[in-house]
Symmetry: C2
Subunit: 388 residues, 2 copies
């Protein structure tokens, strides 16, 4: 029963570009210590570690789960690394949920970490990301992540009437949310005009529509409530933890602008949690690009089929019915790939417990949704958490 799995605590090492010579080992240690402190636990209380990182090309460390266990003083624990492209961190959380729910572990530390691969040239990073789609087709054409996302967004715009102004509003809003988040990479006070005047990367996307590659780490601890220190105010807990794969090659999808795999994951999550989309009161949504947030919201069904109208009516703003990405999202908080999903779950859990370190939602809702994907919504992870 995954509803037995509680959020025990968590922390981030800030998302940004480190200039201080520190490495992902340092950020991992900081996030782990922060998570232990937040959970009021000791290293010796942890019996399993799940590490998320996206690629050996970025970390230049094979078998990082063993290395990071050792670095974090966790010699002796069970360990593994989980990877699923952009969804790596979220899928690692799911693996941790499974270990606790199955009884295979009592207190699982989920640690997401990624260096921004600053040892590589930008063009090399682009080529490597090409390998995260179909390495034989997409990867070999030289097409990059932004171009594939742009193709998908163009199809989405043609079908739904979404505009670059809608995308720009999201780019501005998520950066504004990030201004309250001391861990955020891009806490920017920018205007719509600044977004739509920034350089084109791949139309419709301009530079300010794109999330950054960040350095950083995030860690959370999962356990049954009975295996945790007493906490009178209760704990956020899991109600659904599901994933679903879509066709890898964009051209083989019946609508390259619709995130069908994400819709499937969301529907499965609502069923598993015994809720409907209307029960979701806030969400952390995968906004690798501004338009991808809107495409994701459509697939998640959070506005009863009226996604574009809801976006324009500020339903997804901090004061709206379903605040989205109060953390700043990938656009504002930043994106160290392996850490992203872990940080999203951390933000949602802390919001539900009313103790978020950034912009706390005014009236914490009962249910929060967390959405992450790898590829162009190819491997989709969705969790639903419930307030204490």
């Amino acid at each position: 029963m995954i509803s037995n799995v509680s959020f025990a605590g968590g922390a981030m090492a800030p998302f940004n570009r480190r200039k201080d010579g520190s490495s992902f080992r340092d950020w991992a240690r900081a996030a782990v210590q922060g998570a232990l402190d937040d959970a009021n636990l000791e290293v010796s209380d942890i019996d399993a570690l799940v590490v998320a990182s996206e690629s050996d090309f970025f970390t230049m460390q094979l078998n990082p789960a063993a290395l990071l266990a050792d670095e974090c003083g966790l010699v002796g624990v069970a360990a593994k690394r989980v990877e699923g492209g952009g969804a790596s961190g979220h899928l690692a959380v799911h693996a941790g949920v499974a270990e606790v729910a199955s009884g295979m572990a009592r207190r699982v530390l989920v640690l997401g970490v990624e260096p921004s691969a600053s040892h590589l040239k930008g063009t090399d990073v682009g080529a490597l990301y090409g390998l995260s789609f179909d390495a034989w087709t997409d990867g070999m054409t030289g097409i990059d992540s932004t171009s594939l996302y742009a193709l998908s967004a163009q199809a989405f715009m043609a079908r739904t009437g979404a505009t670059v102004a809608d995308f720009a509003r999201i780019a501005v809003r998520n950066r504004a949310h990030a201004c309250a988040n001391a861990n955020a990479h891009l806490p920017l006070d920018i205007s719509l005009d600044e977004v739509t005047a920034s350089p084109v990367v791949a139309s419709p996307y301009r530079r300010l529509d794109c999330s950054p590659l960040s350095d950083g780490a995030a860690a959370i601890i999962l356990a049954r409530t009975s295996d945790l220190p007493a906490r009178p105010q209760g704990r956020a807990r899991f109600r659904a933890a599901v994933s679903a794969v879509d066709t890898v090659r964009l051209g083989e999808r019946s609508d390259p602008g619709f995130f069908a795999g994400k819709q499937r994951a969301a529907q499965r999550a609502y069923a598993a949690a015994g809720v409907t989309a209307a029960d979701i009161g806030m969400a952390e949504v995968y906004d690798s690009y501004s338009g991808a947030q809107l495409q994701s919201l459509e697939a998640l069904g959070l506005a009863n089929g009226q996604t574009i109208a809801a976006e324009r009516e500020d339903v997804f703003s901090a004061q709206g019915a379903v605040p989205v990405n109060l953390s700043g999202g990938l656009l504002g908080q930043g994106a160290p790939v392996g850490a992203t999903g872990v940080a999203q779950v951390l933000s949602a859990a802390l919001q539900l417990e009313g103790r978020y370190f950034g912009q706390q939602v005014a009236n914490a809702p009962r249910f929060a949704l967390v959405d992450t994907h790898g590829g162009i919504a190819t491997l989709n992870a969705v969790s639903i958490l419930e307030a204490p």
Copy 2:
């Protein structure tokens, strides 16, 4: 309860060096189809996929779980990749066990695959394997896997009196076992003298003491018995699925020749299964090098502290009390890293069910142990399976 998790079926794509232009995608599809056939299930019966592969440097494909789901006709399933160096495949099995035991999935396909990185020069492969220890220390010294294993073996020999003749006996025996295994990479009929006369790689290890890098894939399906077709003869099932991390850097271990992390994993596994080492009737043991098999047997405690004597008295041979590596092990069956642990579990389960495709143990025991590690027994995975 992991004792609810049954082995539903499985298959391998042969381990060898492909010269036919096929890729890991082809081997994966073959193993998956074989597993479905063996389990009498259809693609549509599978709701989750766990992929194991060791490194993007070998597959040149990021997010392989999504890609392989698509390749294998599994669009729509939950998916993730699990990695833990040499233990990747076994840890993926553990992730699958957790998903079934937690109720998060009904029928999980665990697919291990690895290409032998024949696109890389041998020296580059050696350097990459250096990154699977501590990339900053071991990895940068140029020391390779064989040298680290050799250092550990030297310490083991000094403490226990094990000799190169003991190692050679294992190198010969595992290759002999492989001769009955049509999926094996190195089914060799060799003599002790041939082993001890083969070229030195890193003393005490000679070429024939070393396991190969293979191409190949292996797939198994896990589920609760109630979610599977009726099978009057019953099914092998899991009784323990645990892992434990040791200190990464060999020089920081109190005895670099003793696999303390593996001992910890084994003791935890015996406790979880409610058995003792004396209850184990056969084992698939991680023999990346001939001496590592003996070191592993010592740590697993399968001969009541008399490992060397037991080895010399043929306790671990096909006719002995605890047959070890009837598949041929890594030395004989071969080692496509991500597939290794999956194939080990497959072999043990089929042996317990009395239907192994190679050398079937004469009297199938009640309990079989599977042992796999990454690093120099740094990340240790142990499973205990029970006969139907």
